[in-house]
Amino acid sequence: MLQEIPPGLCFILSGILFTIGAIGAIIRRNVIVVFMCIELMLNAVNLVFIAAANALSSVDGSVFVFFIMTVAAVEAAVGLAIFVMVFRLQNTVNPYEVNLLKG
């Protein structure tokens, strides 16, 4: 079953997911949603890896997926810790209100 999905469709799907993630990461005003969008981008990339690995009958792509998932988990932990601290200090997690570091 799975083999019958052509890789081209998977790439298009992941492209769409990545674009949605990127646009969301740029325009959303809630930092949690931004965070989710980033995860979406990562997973879009994962999908490309899986599809390509499948099409090429190689495990290299699958191995990379594990690395990316590990990084995503770490990023989520550190990122959430930062947002908790930011919220405690500023009572907001709107990225447009957190702009002290500017020229």
């Binding site: 990461a25 740029i26 447009y96 002290l100 570091l101 500017k102 020229g103």
Partner: protein
């Protein structure tokens, strides 16, 4: 002994180090003992070398020892090495001998000065540098000593630095000396390169001497002229003599040691040391002789109308240095060194005597407020008298032999000229006049000091008078090492120095029968060499006696005469009294010019160009930064947008580029 020649400069250096490191924790007695002993030991070493020289045949009288490879860079290799030959051993004896006496004298003279320890540290450093100058075996080491004595001269002239005039005089000496040193340094470079072009890369005197024949006549002329510029600065000749009279601001023993007996003779020594180069450049020698005789005459004339006794002695020093340059300029190097030696004795003595008189008069230096010291200070009086006779060239005293040798050589040498002789002989008479003017004014007549000063007049302590007496003895007998053949002597100093100077410039084969000699010829006196020399000798003695007589008439017999004379020729007197306004001229030409140039450079170059450039750059960066900083908004999502756009551009490039 050859292995130990480095001890000669080493002892004063040791004295300098000991006194400057632990001297402040010890007593004055300790400081003075260390300082005097250091010079004395070095004197003994020099005597030892001299003694050994006398045992050796004339050609073997060179000790050379290199102790350290100082600079080795490509073709340039300079060692710290010492060379003692007949010339430098005489210099060492004079420097350490006279230097030792002056050290002893200073123990009494500087007693009670708050800078006592500092004074002896400087003096030892000075003697070390001077010995380095005369014993160094290469030009660079000589230059180190040359600069070193300049430094000590600056330190000692400005010794009483609280006085504005003293520190100004120190600065003046330093700056004027730099002008000369510049020429000297360029000369070294030029010599090194010209010899290097012939394949001989060396600064060692011996090797330069052996290879000097490789130089072309033009190169030798340029090099020697540049070296002479150095000598002009250090030995206070026209036009750089102006620092020496001002140098009298220093303590009197300093004037005696540095500005009369030793340092200022460095120029003469240098020319004598490089005699093989000078002998190759007759044009330079003519310049040397002419500058020498003009300086001698000019300085002597200024001495006529000064009242400060140390200033008179300073001008007399300049004048005597002029004589030495006449000697080396006509190729009579031995006569120049001979005069250098006797001059060190009597001029050292004159300064010390002046210091002693000053001491007696509570620091008074103006002749117009002195007089009548003869009874109160007999030792100073008699020793000063001997020195005056010596400098005036009265037969039997040391100055007579050396000065007469110079006059004769100026006349007879093939480099000499009758005009040089004439001017030098007139100057000798002027010397006699102004020295005895000084002598009579200070020691004879009524005492013109105030009652209070008069009350305090006393002879100096023995530590000061004994050096005076020793120097007086030397001024008396120092000339007997160079009795000319004519008077039955054998001119031993010339014979001793002969290995260094090689064959001297020959006597003119046929004497030019110019105006003066023609007059004698018509009387049949110039029939042969001997009688001509005798005639010239008698003439110079007569001129000297005339000078003394005029001084006697003016200042003892008829004290009102000089005043009337000055009033009669008030314009001339005013001119001479103000030293021909040379200082003012230099002030106008160089000092103000330099100040103006400096002002211009500050305003245009510094304030406008350099400040503009530096501040402009900073300003530009600041403004650009002000614009650029707006990019950093602080919004995380804008940065993310930037990253994505960048990524799209890069990826897009890799997609689009292969299409073309």
């Amino acid at each position: 002994m050859a292995d130990y020649i480095w001890l000669i400069p080493f002892f004063p250096a040791l004295g300098f180090i000991v006194n400057s490191s632990i001297g402040s924790r010890t007593s004055k007695t300790f400081v003075s003992w260390v300082a005097c002993l250091a010079i004395f030991l070095s004197f003994l070493t020099a005597v030892g070398v001299f003694w050994e020289f006398l045992q050796l045949p004339a050609t073997a009288r060179i000790f050379e020892r290199e102790i350290y490879n100082w600079i080795a860079s490509g073709e340039l290799s300079v060692n710290i090495g010492f060379r003692l030959d007949a010339l430098s051993v005489i210099m060492c004896l004079v420097v350490t001998g006279v230097g030792f006496l002056i050290h002893v004298y200073s123990v009494g003279y500087m007693h009670g000065d708050p800078g006592y320890r500092r004074f002896f540290i400087y003096l030892n450093l000075f003697v070390f540098m001077m010995l380095l100058l005369v014993t160094g075996n290469n030009l660079l080491l000589m230059f180190v000593g040359w600069e070193g004595v300049g430094l000590c001269s600056y330190l000692l002239i400005g010794f009483w630095y609280e006085k504005d005039s003293a520190s100004d005089a120190g600065k003046k000496a330093f700056v004027v000396n730099r002008v000369g040193d510049f020429g000297f340094l360029i000369g070294i470079f030029f010599l090194f390169l010209s010899l290097g072009a012939q394949g001989v890369w060396t600064l060692n005197f011996g090797e330069i001497g052996r290879n000097a024949h490789l130089l072309s006549g033009g190169a030798a002329t340029v090099i020697t002229l540049l070296f002479f510029v150095g000598a002009i600065g250090k030995s206070a000749q026209i036009p750089l003599y102006v620092w020496l009279p001002d140098a009298m601001e220093g303590p009197t023993p300093v004037s005696s040691l540095i500005h009369a007996a030793t340092m200022v003779t460095a120029g003469v020594y240098m020319i004598a040391r490089l005699n093989f180069l000078y002998s190759m450049a007759p044009d330079t020698m003519l310049v040397v002789a002419v500058i020498g005789v003009l300086t001698a005459f000019f300085a002597a004339s200024i001495g006529f109308a000064q009242y400060d006794i140390k200033k008179i002695l300073a001008y007399s020093t300049i004048s005597q240095l002029g004589f030495m340059f006449v000697a080396v300029g006509v190729g009579a190097y031995a006569a120049g060194i001979f005069h250098l030696m006797t001059h060190a004795f009597f001029k050292g003595l004159l300064f010390l005597g002046a210091g002693s008189a000053m001491h007696a008069m509570s620091g008074e230096l103006d002749m117009r407020n002195m007089g009548g010291l003869r009874k109160k200070t007999p030792i100073t009086y008699w020793t000063f008298f001997i020195a005056c006779l010596a400098i005036a060239g009265i037969p039997g005293f040391s100055g007579f032999f050396s000065k007469d040798e110079i006059l004769w050589k100026a006349f007879s040498s093939s480099q000499g000229h009758v005009l040089i002789w004439l001017l030098a002989a007139v100057t000798a008479g002027m010397t006699a006049f102004y020295m005895f003017r000084l002598f009579f004014g200070t020691f004879h007549g009524e005492c013109r000091a105030s009652e209070e000063v008069k009350h305090h007049i006393h002879e100096s302590p023995r530590v000061m008078t004994i050096p005076l007496m020793i120097l007086a003895f030397l001024s008396l007998v120092g000339g007997y090492v160079g009795i000319p053949h004519l008077l039955g002597g054998e001119n031993s100093i010339e014979k001793f120095l002969a290995p260094v100077f090689g064959t001297e410039i020959p006597v003119k084969t046929a004497l030019n029968f110019d105006i003066v000699s023609a007059a004698w010829a018509s009387e049949g006196a110039a029939g042969h060499d001997g009688s001509l020399e005798l005639a010239l000798m008698v003439a110079s003695v007569l001129i000297a006696l005339l000078g003394i007589t005029i001084a006697y008439v003016f200042y003892v017999k008829n004290p009102g005469l000089p005043g009337r004379f000055a009033a009669r020729c008030s314009g001339l007197y005013h001119w001479v009294h103000n030293k021909y306004f040379v200082d003012e001229l230099y002030d106008l030409l160089f000092v103000r010019g330099t100040l103006k140039a400096g002002d211009f450079l500050v305003k245009v170059m510094d304030d406008w160009m350099i400040e503009g450039l530096v501040n402009g750059t900073a300003d530009w960066v600041k403004r650009a930064g002000g614009r650029l900083r707006k990019v950093e908004t602080g919004y995380v999502q804008e940065y993310a947008f930037g990253i994505i756009v960048g990524a799209i551009i890069v990826v897009g490039y890799f997609i689009v580029a292969p299409m073309f």
